[in-house]
């Protein structure tokens, strides 16, 4: 990786938008997949025309969904042009998992990672922006020191305990955390791409020890917070009864599954004929227990999801944001997936060559028989 500096004249957002425009103009990429500000929020866009990247704002602390699924759809059937995809860590990691699950391909993809210290619940973001409590440029400059909360509102719980700041596997990486973001942004470029990116006027970035220190400090703090929260929830979930209590208010709407970047099934098994029962079945069950809660199988739904994507869960927390009942699904999943991941020393998104442990599991893998 080579370090460059992108000069900023007070507005890191604008400078960055210009940088993206340049990427397209210089044909470093043929198209760009990037978050742009729209109506006080921000949405993912696919840009072909360089001038249409003017609202690009990947730093805006909002993400309506984990973009990995969108990138996956983009790439899955023969992507012919080179597309730069601007992604946060959780999105890159989810993308890597989807590649392993053969739901995405990385051919013709240039991963452009951005630092992320978390995103607000979309509704919060929108109201903060509309009340002018949050101005993206100002928030960025301030948050670059590690302070994310504003106006008494902080980023999503999952983000607060996320121990990833920089994005993995990026060929180009945009760093703002620990930088004087009002003056300059760090652009890191992998060696093969360096000569092309140098076409855009960038200053030499040199050593970024100070930024590195801050990033490390933040990662450590968040890891500690995460551990604490997981412990707390592990306690809360140490029996099936407690889990069932926690999930009482689930209405099996499927939003969590819809928001999940890893849940890739075309149709969930829970809406398939396997779970379509005859009326007499329901009545029989009700007869057996006196009453049953409807919809049925809510706990089984979550456990099955945990089983299916536990090993690949990147803890983006989108499920939690999507839950209309306010169930802390994200942290529940962290608790469950951590067990599997720790068991196999597997870190989702770490390495594209690292096989999914449950598909290669051998009977004697974990320990000798005795």
């Amino acid at each position: 990786m080579k370090n460059y500096l992108l000069k900023v004249n007070n507005s890191p957002v604008e400078s960055l938008a210009r940088f993206f425009k340049n990427l397209l103009e210089q044909k470093i990429v043929d198209a760009l997949f990037v978050q742009q500000s729209v109506n006080g929020a921000a949405v993912q866009t696919l840009v072909k025309d360089p001038s249409a990247a003017s609202d690009a704002n990947p730093l805006a602390p909002i993400s309506l969904q984990n973009a990995a699924r969108l990138v996956a759809d983009l790439t899955n059937s023969g992507l012919q042009e080179k597309v730069g995809v601007v992604l946060r860590s959780c999105e890159v990691r989810a993308l890597v998992e989807l590649v392993k699950l053969q739901q995405a391909k990385l051919d013709n993809i240039v991963i452009i990672g951005v630092d992320c210290l978390g995103t607000f619940v979309p509704a919060d973001y929108r109201s903060l922006v509309s009340n002018s409590k949050l101005v993206p440029d100002q928030w960025t400059v301030k948050a670059a020191n590690g302070e994310t909360a504003i106006g008494g509102v902080d980023v999503r719980q999952s983000c607060q305990i996320c121990d990833h700041v920089t994005a993995e596997h990026a060929q180009i990486h945009i760093g703002w955390v620990g930088m004087n973001a009002g003056r300059e942004l760090l652009i890191q470029v992998e060696d093969e791409l360096a000569s092309e990116v140098e076409k855009i006027s960038l200053a030499n970035g040199g050593n970024q020890a100070q930024r590195d220190d801050l990033v490390k400090k933040l990662v450590d703090e968040r890891a500690a917070a995460k551990e604490k929260l997981i412990d707390q929830y592990s306690e809360k979930l140490n029996s099936m009864d407690k889990l069932m209590d926690e999930l009482t208010i689930c209405l099996k709407c499927g939003n969590c599954r819809q928001a999940c970047p890893i849940c890739f099934c075309r149709e969930c098994v829970f809406v398939s004929p396997t779970f379509q029962h005859d009326a007499d079945k329901y009545l029989k069950w009700a007869g057996r227990k006196g009453r049953i809660e409807m919809p049925t199988d809510t706990v089984l739904f979550h456990l099955t999801r945990a089983n299916h994507m536990g090993e690949s869960c990147v803890n983006c927390g989108q499920c939690e944001s999507a839950c209309p009942s306010g169930i802390p699904v994200g942290i529940l999943f962290q608790v469950m997936s951590k067990r599997v991941q720790d068991l196999f020393e597997y870190v989702p998104g770490r390495d594209i060559e690292e096989p999914l442990p449950l598909t290669t599991y051998k009977e004697d893998e974990l320990e000798p028989r005795h």
């Binding site: 029996s239 099936m240 069950w285 227990k289 089984l300 456990l303 099955t304 089983n307």
Partner: protein, 74 residues
């Protein structure tokens, strides 16, 4: 899902679902029969062709629905 206290008395008759591999443990259960090994009548055996086909759902579902244990033999 812990076993409720009231179930832990001497009269407690657990319901056990056994998922047994056709080639080994189901055969083993057959052998128990052939050998007239007597055991408590609490298990209901479901034959599968290989325990590799046991979906975790097969374990969770009965436990959620009232079984006290699931025995997987393979």
């Amino acid at each position: 899902m812990s076993v409720p206290e009231e179930k832990l008395d001497a009269n407690f008759e657990p319901k056990i679902v056994g998922l047994m591999c056709n080639w080994c443990s189901y055969t083993g259960a057959d052998l128990a029969g052939t050998s007239r090994v007597q055991y408590p009548p609490n298990v209901r055996i479901v034959r599968v062709m290989c325990t590799g086909s046991v979906d975790p759902m097969y374990l969770v579902r009965p436990l959620l629905e009232g079984a006290d244990a699931v025995l997987v033999g393979g």
